[in-house]
Structures are given as structure tokens and as C-alpha cells.
Assembly symmetry: C2
């Protein structure tokens, strides 16, 4: 009796990510993950440091997956195509994996963040921008604006912020991409005021 469950950090993190997608990232709990493996919660401590550790690892997983998708989508595209592809990767990922996407917004400590796929995301965003010709000094600003708009949009949409109003969000999404493309093609000079 007492067969071993064959757990591993990998397995637990994947189960945690699935749980996040089903129940929401904020409801990810060691107890629930343990339950899914028919194991006591205390047993997870052989594989995970603690609850925060699990959340961190789910975040890292989501960041990787998202970066992989982005890399695929960006391959061979540039300009507006690349922008739209990147944008759609974020939105689609958030829809397919809401919990994982939410994990993406979990605050990592600086060391962990630096070692995550975060920097890869930044590099890909920069790559998209190279399809537009921005003054070099503006590139970081544009990276941030792009990140903010895309993440902001996806978060609001996921959070239901756009429900109850008339035009469907699909239309707004494509107008948002139009707008961003247009903005990057006509990047304004700093305003003096």
C-alpha cells in the first residue's frame, strides 16, 4: 500500500497552471494541487519551497510559453504584420489560458525576473519596432507604450471592463492595432509644454 504518486516540480507546476486557468490564479493553492494528485499538502514541500514558490514557477512557465508563441508568430513577419501577430499572441493566450496570463502579472523579485523570459519579451517587442523607424532614443518609450497598451487592453477585456457597451470588443481590438500601427508610423516629436 501507499504507492508513490510520482510527483515532480514540473508536474506540480503544470497542474498549478491548469488550476489557475480553471479557477483563477488567485485561487491557486497548494492544498488544491495536492488534492489533484491525491496526496497530502505537506508532501508538496519535497518539491516546492512554499506556496509563493509555486506561484513564481507558474509565472515563469507562462512567460516562457507566451514568449515561445510570440517567437513563432513573429518569424518572417515585420511592420504591421509583426505588430498584429504579437498583439494577437497576447490576446489569444489570455483567452485560452486566463490563469496563466494572470500569472504573467505576478510580481517577481528582480533576480528571478531577470532570469525569466521577460527580457525575451522585451527583445521581441523591440524587434517589432525595428519595422518602424523610430529615433533610437524613443525606442524604449515605444516598447513601454506598446507593452502597456497591449497588456492593459487584454487585462481590461479579461476583467470584463468592456462588457455592457455596444461595439463588440473584436472591432475595438482591430482598431487598437490600427491605432498602434499608425502611431508608430507617425511617432510624434516631444511636445514642449
Amino acid at each position: 500500500m501507499m504507492a508513490r504518486a510520482g510527483l515532480s516540480t514540473e508536474l506540480l507546476v503544470r497542474a498549478g497552471a491548469d488550476l489557475a486557468d480553471e479557477a483563477g490564479f488567485e485561487h491557486v493553492t497548494l492544498s488544491e494541487v495536492a488534492r489533484r494528485f491525491d496526496v497530502k499538502a505537506a508532501s508538496l514541500y519535497s518539491h516546492l519551497k512554499n506556496s509563493h514558490d509555486l506561484k513564481t514557477r507558474i509565472t515563469l512557465l507562462a512567460l516562457e510559453e507566451l514568449a515561445d508563441r510570440a517567437a513563432d508568430a513573429l518569424a518572417g513577419r515585420s511592420g504591421r504584420d509583426a505588430l498584429a501577430a504579437l498583439a494577437n499572441v497576447y490576446r489569444d493566450y489570455a483567452r485560452e489560458h486566463p490563469g496563466r496570463y494572470a500569472a504573467t502579472r505576478f510580481r517577481l523579485d528582480p533576480g528571478t525576473a531577470a532570469a525569466s523570459a521577460g527580457p525575451r519579451h522585451a527583445r521581441m517587442t523591440r524587434a517589432v519596432l525595428r519595422g518602424y523607424d523610430l529615433p533610437e532614443a524613443e525606442e524604449t518609450h515605444a516598447v513601454r507604450l506598446l507593452g502597456a497598451t497591449l497588456h492593459g487592453y487584454v487585462s481590461l477585456e479579461m476583467g470584463g471592463g468592456f462588457d455592457h457597451s455596444a461595439p463588440d470588443t473584436g472591432a475595438t481590438w482591430s482598431r487598437t492595432i490600427d491605432a498602434l500601427d499608425s502611431l508608430l508610423r507617425n511617432w510624434p516629436a516631444p511636445d514642449h509644454h
Copy 2:
């Protein structure tokens, strides 16, 4: 002995909001609020339905406060001035009251959301847009884009997403406002693809 503490829903919600600002919205707990009034947690149930109720009320409070500030800031301004004023209200509020701002992203059920200051925010954003002349059919799209960008920016900045990279975030913020202003003045026609 056993003097009454003189609690009220109002008082508790305000204390909860302060706690959110100090410890983070996700750490708001009935127990901690009770502790701050030297009262047992069970006693709060005379004033609050439950923990979720407290969070909901903190959200409503934050939404009100934010709308009040926005209304003040917008008074007498239009065009780029109004845009900048609205943007700064969000950012400043988030910096002064990170927990309250985070509460703002808490998902309300549809009925509560409709009765909240949320619609007031939408109306104010529309008011800002009237300083630009967008085709009427585009207004909702622009409202959403503006909301997404502003909230996205503030969230990323608050979440530390902009740390560790060179240009300071103040510069990016003003470039973001420039960019939004420029975008609204040159709103693109729908792209055909």
C-alpha cells in the same frame, strides 16, 4: 467594561482601504481590520456581509475617489490639457494609494459595477475625447484604447515592470501622453486587411 468600539461600515471600509495602501490589496483581511479596531473578527459581521463585501466596498470607494479627482482635474480643461490631466490623475492616485488603485481592478459583479463610479469614468473619458474630433463610430474604440493604455501603463509601472531599464519612467510617461494626444489628433481610418 467592554466599551463599544463604535464601528460602522464606513469606518471599516476606510480602514480596509488604508490597509490596502500599506500592505497591498491582496493582503486585506477581516482579521487585520478587526485588529486595528481592537475588536474580534467575528464582530465585523454586524457591519459587513463577509470578506468579499469588504473588498467590493473598498473598490467602490476607490472608484469614487478617483472619479472625484478626475472631475476636478478636468474642470475647465480640454484637448491635450484635459488628456494630460486625466492621465496624471490616474498615475498620481496609483502612486499615492497603490492599494486603492489595485482595488480598482477588482472584478465587480455587473449590477454593482453599473451602480459604481465606473460609468462616470467612462463619461469623463468621452468628455476628453470631445476635445478631438473623432468620427462618432470611433468614440467607443478610443475610450477603450485610452483606458487600456492608461491603466496598462500605471499597472506596469506599479508592478515594477519598468525597473532596471535606462530612461526614467517619468520621461516615458510624458511621451505616452504625447503619443496618445498625437494619435487622437490623427486617428487612422480602419485598415483593410
